[in-house]
Amino acid sequence: MDIKRSLTVPGRFEYLATIADFIAVAGRDAGFDQDMIFHVQMAVDEACSNVIEHAYQGQDKGDITLSCHCDGKDWVIAIFDTGRPFDPASIPAPNLEPCLEDIKTGGLGLYFMHQLMDEVEFSFDEETGNKLRMVKRGV
């Protein structure tokens, strides 16, 4: 089943639950299992939280648009914002050594996105802003 849909919400944390619901409905309609839906929901939640926190540097600074394309096997999510350009290389990888008291959790959201999705690609365009493209491959 080929499904395309999109959602635009204000860049506010209270819309994270709305975004999660949007992903859940799209995933169910496309026939993906609950594990896959949960993983994509989490990756998208972390991505949209980063947009508000880092790209917009606060709430109510702009919209977040999600586009979702399921072709029956793979699930492609694109997230657009018009905030500051996001450079993933500027985010340090988290140190998750379990026995250390000084575990570093900076970059944890980005870490989850890479763990949960098969492709994570950031790009920036002067006119259209940031675009994050993530792909989850179906089993």
């Binding site: 944390f13 994270l16 929901q41 939280s49 508000i52 988290p94 379990p98 008291e101 989850f112």
Partner: protein, 121 residues
């Protein structure tokens, strides 16, 4: 969000629903307020938590450090399989003492030995 009920002298926090960037600040504030009052032993009941984001994990880690600095600890219980999976992805199942029930978590404080403590030593 239920910020806690006294159970045999130990505070038990029971957050509900999603712990995400919207709800974590209030959760974190509740943990900090409690721990800064000098009460360093705290059980967090995750039975009604459906999701925890990286901001929630960071809040737990910060609260754990504060509790440890006061000679106490956090103990977590009743994690759903989804929430447990998130903890596993970042190795937090080895950092926090995680128990099946509130009672088990409370009992663990009487011995003050957790799986993480044993491994760290």
């Amino acid at each position: 969000m239920d910020q806690g009920s006294a159970l045999e002298g130990l505070r038990c926090f029971a957050p509900q629903g999603r712990l995400d960037a919207l709800t974590v600040p209030r959760f974190e504030e509740g943990l900090r307020d409690y721990l800064e009052q000098g009460r360093a032993q705290l059980v967090i009941d995750f039975g009604d938590v459906t999701y925890i984001s990286s901001s929630g994990l960071r809040a737990l880690l910060t609260a754990r450090r504060l509790a440890k600095s006061k000679g106490g600890d956090l103990k977590l219980c009743r994690l759903s399989p989804r929430v447990y999976e998130i903890f596993e992805m970042v190795g937090f199942t080895q950092v926090f003492g995680i128990y099946d029930s509130v009672e088990d978590a409370q009992t663990a404080f009487t011995s003050m030995v957790t799986p993480a403590d044993e491994e760290a030593d």
